[in-house]
């Protein structure tokens, strides 16, 4: 376990491998994709989502029993040209691609993602922002350029959206410090992805939370 909040690339790959192991156990379809020269690589997941249904951009959501609670709308329907209430299934299905790469300059993982309709039309940055979960929207829209930007994928060379990693250490530090304090192993990738994923519609099944402790018990 690293003593500070940064992780080296080998450590990154190790955590990804552990993460993917669990993904395979539960059929969550994350894969490792090595780069051409196999010196590095990234984790990738493709997933399809139906837009403008009640389950919206949050595939991990179970029921939405927001009974009796006067809170803001959990699911805001994006006012989107592409939103079609009736049939035309192709225009309603969106393909999301999530890539987890290692950033040498920040020494943390970075979430790259892109989304397109089935006919290949990519979603715009505006579409992406509109799809951000309500609880992050206010903050994100205050300074979207600090958070979600469009960049070239370091390995594929194609345009992707990126969740900016500059604050990663800030929210990872307390978890890591705490895990050292209680002498418990934490999969950095699992913790990190559980935090950043929901911002862009990626929700991790709860079993990932137990996977690390299970691994500990198995190795004892």
């Amino acid at each position: 376990m690293e003593e500070d909040e940064f992780i080296g690339e080998k450590t990154f790959q190790h955590y990804c491998a552990e993460f993917i192991k669990h993904s395979q156990q539960i059929g969550d379809s994350w894969e490792w994709r090595p780069s051409k020269d196999c010196s590095d690589g990234y984790m990738c997941k493709i997933h399809f989502q139906i837009k403008n249904e009640s389950v919206m951009s949050h595939p991990g959501a179970s029921t939405h029993g927001q009974t009796c609670l006067p809170m803001e709308e959990a699911f805001e329907l994006p006012s989107d040209d592409c939103e079609v209430i009736e049939t035309a299934a192709a225009s309603k299905v969106i393909k999301y691609e999530y890539h987890v790469l290692y950033s040498c300059s920040y020494q943390v993982p970075v979430l790259y993602f892109r989304a397109s309709f089935l006919d290949g039309r990519p979603l715009t940055l505006k579409d992406i922002w509109e799809g951000v979960h309500e609880c992050y929207k206010t903050r994100l829209l205050q300074g979207p350029w600090d958070t979600i930007t469009q960049q070239e994928h370091p390995i594929l060379g194609q345009p992707f959206f990126v969740l900016h990693p500059c604050k990663t250490n800030e929210f990872m530090a307390p978890i890591l410090k705490n895990s050292r304090k209680i002498n418990k192993n934490v999969n950095y990738i699992t913790s990190w992805l559980s935090i950043v994923g929901p911002v862009v519609g990626l929700n991790l099944p709860l079993s990932y939370a137990k996977a690390t402790s299970q691994a500990e018990r198995n190795s004892d």
Binding site: H58, G60, A61, S62, T63, H64, G65, Q66, T67, C68, L69, P70, M71, A74, H133, E134, C135, Y136, T138, R139, L140, Q142, G143, D146, T147, H164, K167, E170, F171, A173, P174, I175, K177, N178, S179, I182, K184, V186, N187, T190, S191, S194, I195, G197, P198, N203, L204, L206, Y208, A209, K210, T212, S213
Partner: protein, 140 residues
């Protein structure tokens, strides 16, 4: 929403000190007796019992996050993580630019739509769900 949560379970002053005074509350969950007035504050709609619609949550602060004076809450099973986050933010009077994260197992952030009832089933023990919370300027 804040008022609703605040009308719920309140630790008696003697138990509030270290926040570890769980024993005062546990009789409610482990014995079949009807709830005593000490364990359930007025305003709770239904009696505590095995099939109660509310679960006990213990909130623990991580890092530099302020500690809540009341740490133990009875929360409806259908309350989402997002709802809980909003409540804690209001309770702690956090500013809009501060993000609050909630964790189970001290390491995993459930998605905002996750219901606490489900989390209790998966991660609860000793009749309660322990959630850690941490504030952060995660973005921007």
């Amino acid at each position: 929403m804040a008022e609703e949560l605040q009308s719920m379970l309140q630790l008696p002053p003697s138990g509030a000190a270290g926040g570890e005074g769980l024993t005062e509350v546990s009789p409610e969950t482990t014995t079949p007796e009807p709830p005593s007035s000490a364990a359930v504050s007025p305003g709770t709609e239904e009696p505590a019992g095995d099939t109660k619609k509310k679960i006990d949550i213990l909130l623990k602060a991580v890092g530099d996050t302020p500690i809540m004076k009341t740490k133990k809450w009875a929360v409806e099973r259908t309350r989402t993580i997002q709802g809980l986050i909003d409540f804690i933010k209001k309770f702690l009077k956090l500013v809009a630019s501060e993000q609050l994260f909630i964790y189970v197992n001290q390491s995993f952030a459930p998605s905002p739509d996750q219901e606490v009832g489900t989390l209790y089933e998966c991660f609860g023990s000793d009749g309660k769900l322990v959630l850690h919370y941490c504030k952060s300027q995660a973005w921007g």
